[in-house]
Symmetry: C2
Subunit: 319 residues, 2 copies
């Protein structure tokens, strides 16, 4: 099997997408944008040993490669439409590829996303996905839209993926009752696409939590020229995890762990009811965890309103 057979056999599944004029197999794919919509674009590169373990199951790897990109669309409130996948693979192992592709296409189908192109080459497991989504013209959950007085919300639960990662790195031991959910959060993050779209008319600023909640909120604050107060003990967690881990460890994983792929977003207080309705419609829990203020910085406080100082504010790829 050579590169072209591989493309034909595993990737050239015709998308049932009438906006795709020309799919995989030419120098480029052609799509027809719908009138009245903007398009949004994001790319993520994942490398073995940095973004995933060498022994990761192909099903889990494929899921994550696509999920982290879907998460970017969720953070814009966009409807994901198309992806291009580049892959450097050490060899063409048919069984491995079949598992990878089945998982990839299953997640893509869940979100109505068509694979329209990409590249394959030989190399040591590198993946890059570019995702393209649709937004009603002029809309979009941008980082620079937070306003003083906004509530800060977080979807799902945070810190679980970091706990699972640190358990694998022997930095902590997970309580048995929390292990499966933490592992799932690390291996199969759920992109909050439905929530992002439901929030589009309701929320102001949003972003997904990939590098650590505190750091990712910081991007919103900086882009919007505002500050915030974040209530650490209000952060949605697994109770078993919070009870079991030391306080410092729990705070580190929750505030600076990253890899959560939950949404952090702001909305005006008068939209609390609308946020709840959107969350319910999307089937996703949301929790109010702080407030935007004019301080220009991020203050993290505990239940007694005492300052919490983090030694590290999240993951820096070159840190």
């Amino acid at each position: 099997m050579n590169e072209f057979d591989f493309i034909r056999r595993y990737l050239q599944r015709q998308p049932s997408d009438s906006d795709v004029v020309l799919g995989i197999g030419d120098d480029a794919a052609i799509v027809r944008p719908q009138p009245g919509y903007d398009l949004c674009f994001s790319s993520d590169m994942l490398l073995k040993g940095r973004h995933f373990f060498a022994d990761v199951a192909p099903e889990d790897l494929a899921w994550k490669v696509l999920a982290v990109n879907l998460s970017d669309m969720a953070a814009m409130g966009a409807r994901p439409r198309w992806v291009l996948l580049s892959a450097a693979l050490p060899e063409l192992d048919e069984a491995w590829l079949a598992h990878f592709c089945d998982s990839l296409f299953a997640l893509a189908a869940q979100h109505g996303v068509a694979l329209i192109g990409g590249d394959t080459t030989r190399g040591d497991l590198v993946f890059n996905v570019t995702i393209i989504g649709e937004l009603p013209q002029g809309q979009g959950l941008r980082r620079d839209a937070a306003q003083v007085g906004d509530d800060i919300w977080v979807s799902g639960r945070v810190g679980l993926a970091a706990a699972a990662l640190n358990s694998r790195l022997k930095n902590c031991v997970l309580p048995p009752e929390a292990a499966p959910e933490c592992e799932a959060a690390l291996l199969r993050p759920i992109p909050r696409v439905a929530l992002g779209r439901a929030l589009l008319p309701v929320a102001r600023a949003a972003q997904d939590i990939s590098d650590g909640l505190a750091q990712d909120i910081g991007h919103i604050l900086k882009a919007s020229g505002v500050g915030a107060e974040l209530w650490a003990d209000s952060l949605p967690t697994l109770p078993a995890l919070k009870q079991h881990l030391g306080r410092a460890q729990w705070l580190a994983y929750t505030l600076a762990g990253g890899d959560d792929y939950e949404l952090v977003f702001t909305a005006a207080p008068e939209h609390r009811e609308a946020v709840s309705v959107a969350a319910e419609a999307a089937g996703t829990q949301v929790t109010r965890v702080g407030r935007i203020n004019g301080s220009g910085g991020l203050q993290i406080v505990d239940a007694a309103h005492q300052d919490i100082t983090l030694t590290s504010l999240g993951f820096d790829h070159f840190g």
Copy 2:
């Protein structure tokens, strides 16, 4: 300097592009498609040791990373508009990055292309570019559009990059008078964007020559369900190279070498004049090198119309 400083400092140059609603720095970029246009998309991944030498100059590397993607747009007849660049870098070497970015932005500016997003991470020099181009709705130089009787044309000259690569690998010695042009072809291929756009109303099928002329023509033949006769001795070359290399070596580099990033395209014989006019307008030489027929296969013949058999039909990334 951390990842975010890097992005701000080197990549966050605001494109002067009124169709970019939101550029680098959010979860995704937003662009506004123009009514009446389709969009086309292509991705290429380049790895150290496979697509470029470890000691390549950053200026040349940046050029090639972008040029090979521009070439895909050229092969569709599209106007390139936007790119997303993902890069895995072993370290943040400011001088290296400055050279890389200056070269990248210079080539982008030449083609009116704006960088709207991407990703940076730590790793051993991997690049992925996704490029987005515009096509008037319903148009595009597809691989499946060749028709029996069409002329086959090639732009520029072929085999030069392969000669330079093989010289580096000590498989051949370049004649001194040909060495600079061969080196330039390998390091700084010229994407035939103007030619591709000029050919849009004139040519039928097209593709760029990345994996070797014979193999790449093969893709057109297969997609179009046709065959072809290719005149090896009509192929545009450097005369000094053809004279100097052995016949088998010259044929191998020219027909199966790859990395040319020239266009191979077909057009009806009644459009010969129009093809010449388009080529002149684009400032690019084109040469008629064969004819599409109904044979279903590719026959390569010499000046005496004797069959030439290639042992390898071009580069297979997994061969």
